[in-house]
């Protein structure tokens, strides 16, 4: 495919349109013009671009509420442009970028810089998440109001938990006046000092320092209680333990404003992966046990966990290919999001496509308070076409991300992004990235 004019009228024909925001799941046509979704109907005869979507899923552009783009500070791992390109290749049109950069996104200017770099790149939308505390030090609140003015869609010290219960309480209280969410990396630091993996049988066997599940559970319990007394919005990032899932479920039952996200690696892999000492299995929170994986899947099934997010954490090979205690935590996730979710949730029959797409569109849009995640009339024309039957082999050397750190290399998988439209422009097809404005597909 080539030659897509910018802001063309696009006619997507014969696809399975899935839009959980409107409870739609039907075969039909979708029209886009001047960057907007047109109302369903006939009579749009003069489309400049027609996309044959028979056999494809047509859904709102996917939203990843948890990525790390490393700019400013560690551009060798990822830039906002390369990360936003990886997002497109993964079918993702909007991402929320974590603030653990150098310097941290803890000021209005820093948040605006993220937005500016994303506009320059003109790939996926990039929304900054601001730091909870100045310099992510966990001591004083960051300038949350000014960060909101700069475009911050939520607040977190992700990578580091907000260890102080008193600071966490203040953050939940203060952010509530902007109706912004506090996203917490839940982990009691004292229980995870020096840890590289889940504490349990596998860590004992390998002689590696462990991070107990209880370190997560304790902080989840604490923060749900703090959200309860403050009325603030709490989001549990990358939930990984069975007990945490149960705590969130119970908190929701009490009416606490708590949401949770799960990452594909936490519903497909366990700490047994580290038997090979491969640092691509080292993440934080760590890969847990099969019973935790089952509990996370259970939480996704019953709605306790309403969001799927990648925690895309790129690291250059020279940093990641080191001794396990020296290697940083995390894996890239954007370009494996669709197939690994299919593998972990759809193929085994845990969730169907509309349920998965809900957790990747309208639910994260509501979390972040952004006007995305829907194909309703007049909505921003961010659309992802997924080929659910495409079978392919994950090859990290072909990633658009600058980094290659994934445990999924070589996996034979099903499902991938076919065509990605952002602001009414076709910006990615299986043939490659489409250069903005020119409409030419680059290789």
């Amino acid at each position: 495919m080539k030659g897509f004019p910018a802001l063309a009228t696009i006619h997507i024909t014969g696809g399975r349109i899935i839009d959980p925001s409107q409870e739609i799941d039907r075969i039909g046509d979708l029209w886009i013009s001047r960057g907007r979704i047109l109302p369903v109907g006939e009579g749009y005869e003069d489309a400049e671009v027609v996309i044959d979507a028979r056999g494809l899923i047509v859904c709102p552009g996917l939203i990843d509420a948890h990525v790390h783009f490393r700019e400013p500070g560690n551009e060798e791992d990822e830039t906002i442009a390369s990360g936003a390109e990886a997002a497109l290749a993964g079918g993702v049109t909007s991402v929320a970028c974590m603030p653990n950069t150098l310097p941290a996104i803890d000021s209005q200017a820093a948040a605006e810089f993220v937005i500016l770099q994303a506009q320059r790149a003109r790939k996926a939308h990039v929304y900054p998440v601001g730091a909870v505390s100045k310099g992510r030090k966990g001591e004083e609140l960051a300038e949350i109001g000014q960060l909101v003015d700069g475009g911050a869609v939520g607040f977190t010290d992700d990578g580091a938990p907000v260890a102080s219960a008193s600071l966490m309480r203040r953050a939940l209280q203060y952010a509530s006046m902007f109706d912004r969410v506090i996203m917490q990396h839940c982990q009691v630091p004292e229980l995870t000092v020096g840890g590289v993996m889940n504490e349990g049988f596998e860590s004992t066997r390998l002689g590696l320092a462990g991070m107990p599940a209880a370190a997560e559970d304790i902080m989840v319990a604490r923060d749900i209680r703090l959200a309860e007394i403050t009325g603030g919005r709490l989001h549990i990032q990358h939930i990984s333990t069975a007990r945490s899932v149960e705590l969130v479920r119970e908190g929701k039952r009490r009416g606490v404003r708590v949401t949770a996200e799960a990452c594909p690696h936490h519903f497909t892999l366990t700490d047994e992966g580290l038997r090979t000492f491969d640092s691509n299995f080292k993440m934080n929170p760590p890969l847990r046990t099969w019973s935790d994986v089952e509990a996370v899947i259970g939480g996704l099934k019953d709605g306790t966990i309403e969001i799927i997010a990648t925690d895309h954490a790129p690291h250059a090979p020279e940093k990641k290919m080191r001794e396990l205690d020296q290697a940083p935590f995390g894996i890239v996730g954007l370009e494996t999001l669709i197939p690994i979710t299919v593998h972990g949730l759809i193929d085994p029959g845990h969730l169907d496509w509309p349920e998965v797409i809900r957790k990747l569109t309208i639910n994260p849009a509501q979390l972040l308070g952004i006007n995305k995640g829907t194909l309703g009339p007049g909505a921003d024309a961010d659309v992802t076409l997924i080929d659910p039957e495409a079978r392919w082999t994950i090859d990290p050397t072909k990633f658009r991300s600058k980094s290659r750190n994934t445990p999924y290399g070589g996996w034979e998988v099903r499902g991938r992004a076919h065509t990605v439209i952002v602001n009414g422009e076709v910006r990615y097809t299986l043939g490659g990235i489409v250069q903005p404005g020119t409409g030419d597909a680059s290789s």
Binding site: V193, G194, G200, F201, T204, R205, L206, G207, L208, T276, F277, E318, M321, R322, E323, L324, D325, Q326
Partner: protein, 333 residues
């Protein structure tokens, strides 16, 4: 000249690296011990040297302090006529920011055939084995494994007791932080021993029972059943915070004293991987007494390391084309 037992009773060995005892089969472990037995004889000769590894280069890469293991490997390599070179992290370019793998690749470029690696991080030798052509011997990776120590303990038990199968062996002490415990555990289980791990719950994770051993907290209760007690050192340097209240309480609960030895089987074999903290894990009377095999362990360590170097050098056929055409007469067949 070939060591006679190794040549008359050839051992099936196809591994390029020795990274841990968990990976090895019972037959491979027995093969290593048989080979070590034959090398032990060499150490009793007046001329303690064979030409098996003549022209080969053995590098000791130690990223953590060690005296006896490094010395033992060096001497083992020298008895096989290999050239040996030590590389110690404290005087290396690691402090200049060079990665561990780059350091190893540099050493390989100097012609290392075998790298003996000690490293504070579990899995570091495994990582190295993926990036270099040389054979890699794990000489201790954090709290994970120390296979040659495991083998020398097995050899010491086998020589003293004539067998390993059916024996009850107790490992006492800081199991959590001990690579010696893990290598011993795998080796002993594979050879059919009953293994008991003994120490306070802060040092002996209950989850280790899933590996096929037993966990006990009270030494006096299990000691009468034991044929062998292997007394592990308290790793003061590895312990980030106090995992037991005091040294004196630890000694009282787990120290091998003359009184405890008297309550045990008469032929109880006492091992200690060393270096020992005299008076903490072991009283001097026991360390130097008739049940102690501590010095045999050191002697057997040499034989085990010769066996490992010998067997690995037989499978790592990294040779140049020129060498092939000239015929390499210096190495063993």
């Amino acid at each position: 000249m070939e060591p006679h037992a190794a040549s008359t009773n050839p051992v099936a060995w196809s591994r390029k690296h020795l990274l841990g005892l968990e990976d090895l089969s019972r037959a491979e472990i027995n093969g290593l011990l048989d080979t070590a037995d034959s090398f032990a004889e060499i150490s009793t000769r007046s001329r303690k040297k064979v030409p098996a590894l003549l022209g080969r280069v053995v590098f000791n890469l130690f990223f953590e302090n060690s005296t006896r293991t490094r010395t033992s490997f060096s001497l083992a390599a020298k008895r096989l006529s290999a050239d040996t070179q030590d590389f110690t992290a404290s005087v290396s370019s690691l402090s200049k920011g060079e990665t561990f793998i780059d350091t190893a690749k540099n050493i390989e470029a100097m012609g290392a055939d075998v790298m003996v690696v000690r490293h504070p991080t579990p899995g570091a030798p495994h990582l190295l084995a993926q990036h270099v052509q040389s054979s890699v011997i794990n000489a201790g990776d954090g709290a994970h494994e120390h296979p040659t120590q495991g083998l020398l303990d097995l050899l010491t038990i086998r020589r003293a007791k004539g067998k390993i199968e059916g024996l009850t062996v107790c490992l006492v002490g800081d199991i959590s932080h001990s690579r010696v415990a893990r290598s011993n555990l795998w080796g002993l289980l594979k050879l059919g021993a009953r293994v008991i791990l003994c120490g306070p719950p802060t040092l002996v994770p209950k989850s280790m029972e899933r590996l096929g051993c037993e966990v006990a907290y009270h030494l006096d209760e299990i000691l009468p059943q034991c044929d062998v007690v292997n007394v592990l050192r308290i790793q003061f340097e590895r312990q980030q915070k106090a995992l037991f209240p005091s040294i004196s309480e630890y000694s009282q609960l787990y120290g091998m004293t003359q009184e405890r030895v008297r309550k045990a089987k008469e032929d109880l074999l006492v091992l200690a991987p060393g270096p020992i903290n005299r008076g903490v894990e072991l009283t001097p009377e026991v360390a130097d007494g008739p049940n102690s095999a501590i010095l045999d362990q050191v002697t057997n360590g040499l034989a085990v390391r010769m066996a490992v170097l010998y067997l690995l050098s037989g499978t790592n056929t990294k040779r140049s084309a020129a060498e092939e055409s000239l015929g390499d007469t210096s190495t063993s067949k």
